[in-house]
């Protein structure tokens, strides 16, 4: 597929610090690309550079093979959905969506057609005359997206647009956004600090940290095969252990937990194991499974997300282990010891 957006060695320096350092990536046409990072990592700066509100210090933004150097935001083939949506409060739904079309000097009939088509698409039929201040959070969201999409941009930039919504609605909008993107086929570049949003919706996710990209990958790969220690710790829940020393064919954590590692030839400093990677009561016959005993300290009940807080026998290390809510493990109570296994591939060392 054609590359619609290319970012080449982009950097942005402010007076005394560098917000974006040598970022280099490309987005394929029709893709849903997310940039995931905690606040202050430079993701908003990057988005504003792509939109044209900020000038890059070094590097280049290329959209559809055309350099965007010196092109002001109003001339770029991108539209942005702002964090606070930035709907025009003095206009009704229709006027908000028509704003960009009117600037293009389109005929009234064309404008009407495009608006009703877009309202249909985002499910806001009959809301034309409503004031945007009278809409619910989810409806305002859709108006903001419709206002940008009606411009038929090459790329739609979304700056954490779900941030202000409550949890239930956010879960709902996540799915809705993903479906909408699939349906219309516009390339989305979405920035967020919420990893669940990034993982659920995206085709590709870039994890950003300290102005740099740590890894660009599919959500599944980011989760399964993190390339850096930061990604392993940032994406998803995980157990993190600092290693004290790596002895003969084994790794020993600070808390004195020893994991066998016969084939080990590097000397990692930290390892990560996801709560759901642990096998409860493993069969002795499976290969490559590290087996050990833990004492259950507490059961942290959270429905499908229930976890056991445990201590590894013979060490001071604590482990969080996912507990599937099925009848098989109903007998597990606090204070008991439990046999646990973990596949060697699920132990990520850095």
């Amino acid at each position: 597929m054609a590359k619609i957006l290319e970012i080449k060695n982009l950097s942005k320096h402010f007076d005394d610090f560098t917000a974006v350092k040598n970022v280099d990536f490309s987005v394929e046409e029709g893709g849903f690309f997310s940039i995931l990072g905690s606040s202050g990592c430079g993701k908003t700066t990057l988005l504003r550079i792509i939109a044209g509100f900020l000038q890059e210090s070094e590097g280049e933004v290329i959209i559809r093979g055309q350099s965007m150097k010196g092109i002001p935001p109003e001339k770029r083939p991108v539209n942005i959905v702002f964090q606070n949506l930035a709907l025009f409060p003095m206009m009704n739904v229709r006027e908000n969506i028509a704003f960009g079309l009117k600037r293009q000097k389109l005929k009234a009939a064309d404008i009407n057609f495009k608006i009703s088509e877009m309202l249909e698409r985002v499910g806001l039929n009959g809301f034309e005359k409503k004031k945007v201040t009278d809409l619910s959070g989810g409806q305002r969201q859709r108006v903001a997206i419709a206002r940008s999409l009606v411009m038929n941009p090459s790329i739609l930039l979304l700056d954490e647009p779900l941030g202000a919504l409550d949890r239930k609605l956010r879960e709902h909008m996540k799915v809705e956004l993903k479906l909408l993107q699939k349906e219309i086929g516009t390339t989305f570049v979405y920035i967020t600090h919420d990893q669940s949003e990034a993982l659920v919706m995206s085709d590709q996710v870039a994890v950003m940290h300290d102005g740099q990209f740590e890894q660009i990958d599919t959500p599944r790969n980011l989760y399964k095969n993190p390339k850096t220690s930061f990604v392993a710790g940032f994406v998803g829940d995980t157990n993190r252990f600092e290693l004290q020393s790596t002895g003969e064919g084994a790794m020993i954590t600070r808390g004195g937990w020893e994991l066998k590692r016969p084939e080990l030839n590097t000397s990692p400093e930290v390892l990560y194991i996801r709560p759901e990677a642990f096998i409860l009561n493993p069969d002795n016959t499976i290969n490559d499974v590290e087996q050990f005993e833990v004492t259950i300290k507490t059961i942290l009940f959270d429905g499908s997300n229930t976890k056991l807080s445990t201590q590894v026998s013979g060490s001071s290390e604590e482990l969080l282990i996912s507990l599937p809510q099925n009848a098989q493990f109903d007998g597990i109570v606090e204070g008991h010891t439990l046999k646990i296994g973990v596949h060697r591939d699920d132990v990520k060392c850095f």
Binding site: A51, F53, P73, E74, N84, A86, F99
Partner: protein, 288 residues
């Protein structure tokens, strides 16, 4: 023990008393007095009788209603000028400069208010007079040979009125601009709006409530002003308030003065009502 219901009532009455006292003694009674006396005329026997004669006088004598039309027209003009001058100032103070600078500049803007209108009007007389600062300066550097006639003209009148009222446009406009989120401007820009579009389609409509309340205050201050027209306007720029003054204190016809006062109140309220209708603004939304 008092029931909560009574407690509420007690607080309610306690709080409403000052409001009612203010309304009755400061507004209702003096105006009622004026209203009554405006309908009284002295007949040939020296007795006071009820009549519309004072109001008829206003409409039948050309000088009176022409003065009123001129006063209203100039007040509207000054209000427009105040908007044209105040808007960039308010925009600069809220959106361009830093908060710290804005606070300092705001204090500078307020200084004329501390001095008082009379003193600033005299200040303008010193500046604009035939032997005043401006004429002296222009003649010294040789741009003109004869002093420009600026004082006691409509020009000096407008300057004085503007200077006195401009700040009352700046403040409400600033308060609406402060609540204007910069992302609205960026969103408009992103949707392809030019600078002019952003100004006319986003910034002005957004600040309309502030502009309207500023315009009402400025218009009312200007149309009811007496000092600036009297001191800066000279003989040819008769202001309607001067007519009222003349009725009260030169011809001692208090009844006619009261009628003129009421006409000023009604007509200026009518102009504001009309302006709100035309601009599509609602009074209850103004200033929010």
């Amino acid at each position: 023990m008092m029931k909560p219901q009574n407690e509420f009532n007690f607080t309610f009455y306690l709080l409403i008393v000052p409001v009612l006292l203010w309304l009755i003694f400061m507004i209702v009674i003096p105006h009622a007095e004026l209203l009554i006396s405006s309908f009284l005329v002295e007949n040939d026997d020296g007795e006071m009788v009820v009549s519309f004669a004072n109001y008829i006088e206003f409409f039948s004598q050309k000088i009176y209603w022409l003065t009123f039309v001129k006063t209203a027209a100039y007040s509207i003009g000054v209000t427009l000028l105040a908007f044209i001058i105040a808007f960039p100032i308010a925009f600069y103070l809220t959106k361009v400069t830093t908060r710290k600078n804005a606070a300092f500049l705001m204090v500078l803007l307020l200084i004329p208010l501390w001095v008082g209108e009379l003193v600033t009007v005299y200040g303008w007389m010193v500046l604009l007079g035939d032997n005043g600062v401006i004429n002296h300066f222009l003649m010294t550097i040789g741009i003109i040979n004869e002093p420009l006639n600026m004082l006691y003209t409509n020009f000096s009148l407008v300057i004085g009125l503007l200077y006195m009222s401009m700040l009352f446009m700046v403040i409400p406009v600033m308060s609406t601009l402060q609540s204007l989120d910069d992302s609205l401007i960026e969103a408009a820009c992103d949707l392809g709006a030019s600078k002019w579009d952003i100004f006319t389609k986003i910034i002005i409509p957004y600040s309309m409530p502030g502009i309207t309340s500023g315009a009402i205050i400025v218009f009312m201050l200007v149309i009811g002003d007496y000092l600036a027209p009297n001191l800066l306007g000279g003989k040819n720029s008769l202001w309607f308030t001067e007519q009222i003054y003349n009725s009260f204190l030169q011809t001692f016809n208090w009844n006619e003065g009261a009628a003129f006062g009421f006409l000023l109140l009604l007509l200026s309220s009518g102009i504001i009502w009309l302006a709100l209708k035309v601009s599509g603004q609602k009074l209850e939304k103004v200033g929010t």
